[in-house]
């Protein structure tokens, strides 16, 4: 099985569940049902879970971590809670507690079950020692290699001094009838 990072999957699940709870809660409240307080709770819990789970954590093992769009600000907020958000045991417990009131009313029952599943996966992640690490923006330090067409050289190539450039008489394969001056190459 290798190195599976369960926390990533739990994170996706929890985000989806937050939306499901939110939807169920909205329907419950809009229809003004008997136990509408539970539906209102569903809305609040849904929003809270969405905000908590939106910033993705950094991948532990290797590879690049893919950020969600605009998660930088929420990362700062979630990071501020320190060990409460870093530790996955806390998150698992939190989700388990959040799921209980959802079970009392039909619109939020599905959200309740899904949050419970997410809580279980977080528990598994926590047992395996995973932690939430924030993805902080990196400074662009590496230099990209240039493109293949380079500028033409601005300086002439280095040349030997003029005396050494002159061809020696005895090396010539052909002797010129007209003598050549020093400065001609």
């Amino acid at each position: 099985m290798g190195q599976i990072e369960w926390a990533m999957w739990a994170n996706e699940q929890a985000l989806a569940t937050g939306l499901i709870l939110l939807t169920g809660g909205i329907v419950g409240v809009a229809g003004q049902f008997k136990d509408w307080q539970f539906a209102a709770y569903g809305i609040a819990a849904g929003v809270f879970i969405c905000l908590l789970e939106y910033p993705r954590g950094k991948r532990k093992n290797k590879g690049t971590s893919i950020e969600r769009m605009g998660q930088r600000y929420l990362t700062i907020c979630v990071k501020a809670f320190g060990p409460l958000t870093r530790n996955y045991f806390v998150r698992a417990g939190l989700h388990a507690v959040l799921s209980i009131p959802g079970g009392f009313m039909l619109p939020t029952v599905l959200g309740c079950v899904c949050v419970a599943i997410a809580s279980l996966i977080y528990l598994l992640a926590a047992i395996r020692g995973e932690q939430w690490e924030p993805i902080m923006p990196q400074v662009e330090s590496k230099q990209r290699p240039g493109e293949s067409m380079k500028e033409p050289p601005s300086n002439p190539p280095p040349r030997l001094p003029a005396e050494l450039r002159r061809k020696r008489q005895e090396d010539a394969a052909y002797v010129n009838p007209i003598p050549i001056s020093v400065n001609s190459v």
Binding site: A16, F33, K34
Partner: protein, 628 residues
Amino acid sequence: MRLNMAWKSWISNECGKHLLLLLWLAVNVWLFWKTFILYYSGPQYYYLHRMLGLGLCISRASASVLNLNCSLVLLPVCRTLLAFLRGSQKVASRKARRLLDKSKTFHAACGVTVCIFSDPTAAVSAGVSQMLVLEKESAPRRVVHVAAHMVNILNFSARYSEDFPSLNVAHYKGEDPRLIIFTTVPGVTGILMVLILFLMFTASSYSIRVSNYDIFWYTHNLFIVFYILLLLHVAGGALKYQSNVEAHRPGCFSPNKTLQVRRLKPEPLPESHLERSHEDFLKPQPHVEDNFGNVCKEEPHFKSHFPETWLWVSGPLCLYCAERLYRYFRNSRPVTIVSVTSLPCDVIEVRMVKKDFKARPGQYIVLQCPSISTFESHPFTLTVEYLIQLSTGLEILAVCFIRKRNIQCPTEKRTTFGVHLRVLGDWTKQFKELLLSKSTPDSEILPIVQQRRYPTLYIDGPFGSPSEEVFNYEVSLCVAGGIGVTPFASVLHTLLDEWRHFKLRRLYLIWVCREIQSFYWFADLLCALHQKLWQENRPDYLNIKLYLSRTDGIQNLIGDRYRALNSRLIIGRPRWKLLFEEISKCNRQKNVGVFCCGPKKISKTLHKLSNSTSSSGTTFEYNKESFS
């Protein structure tokens, strides 16, 4: 003129798949509408409709869309079938085969549709029923009718009909809807199905597939459970239709039961209506136009539907099961590893033989090694495939003695094929260790019988990929990034054997690598092909451009025989726009196939450039390999 050219490029690249998408959407919308209308105004559903309201129509309509998509979602994953369709060039045109490249996207679209149409049905519940329990008559006015099977369940509870007991699912009026869900077969299977969909959907996001492919793979295999539950879910027969519409016209006048029938009107009546005279009340409702006034001849009989979903789903399900069985039997025999070569930059080449193995250049296989992991399997593109024939036993002996490595000598007509693997993750790392660590101490001549103990290896495939189309264009541009050159390597091997009888007239190969050592993987192949084409007087057939994107370090291929490659080696990243312009100038009015196997950024740039105009009338058709 430029606008024309822009349209032409875009149409040839994007038109086919957008048309297909539109067609699929149109079919979905039509199905939804048709079913909605059927339940809204069909006479056989009259009583059911009055009991359950608009929720019935919406939920049945979404169920029919679910039927369609649950059956379509299986088709793009029948990979052997797709590979067969790709290969049968007489059956489908090149444009149709290009659509097969998008099979994964189509599968994802159908899957998302299944989730969308089933989640709200379960996630939204109507405390409708709870409200109806309290305020029986005026409830329909204020209720939010949302598509929900749960709406129906709750309506079954609230509007428990004493008149037509056989229509009911609830056991008594005001039964707790949660009890209905968890004690009936459709209820339990429905909830379980939604949970399975939830698990599958959350594990299929791009980030999970990139980081932990295992989670995605194992949860996706829950689809078997999903389909079993689906078949059971519709067998419950909760919704019934009236089977004797002729004898008992809905809404007919039944002298004994007048009062109750009138009370169960589903449409909200405006307040003023109640104050009107008695005659208005007797006015016929829109959907029972001329029925009122008829006398009922007999009681209405209700029957459960034949589960329509079985008809929809059974076809693709049988096809998929047949394919899996075929693949299982085909792959039950392990391959024999012939040789393993270690190449620079963490690449190993593995050559194998298997009986009756046939593959086309550009196809890929999936390797599975039980000694590393029972369930993991990884795809690799074939880089070489050739038929070898050794006629006499003596030749076999000679070959075995001359080579320093040990090979298992193949018999007469076996296909040897090979893959290049890049060692990147733990599976490939373990595979490399298993293959390379068992080396015996060096000796000049190895006895024949001593066999290197390679691990057993099973393969699945070969499966098709877009690179097979390289030969079907007159001019092809192949762009490879790093190890992505493997599909084109198999193309080059095929050209080395025989290049004349293909439609291909000119091939541009752009290979971008980070390190100079990577070019050694196929340097010999490139030089050999280049040499052969020059000898046979076709110097313009193969145009190689090698790019080295890292500017420090050694910048030349060492060796005199690589002179042809060194002169085509450029330091820096390619400038795609200039390359495209150059190619279009040299190939006016031609259709150039662009094939890319590399990082996403390059792929996006090429796609954009292929869609844009070119002044020389050349169109670029973009074909992309996808490996996630």
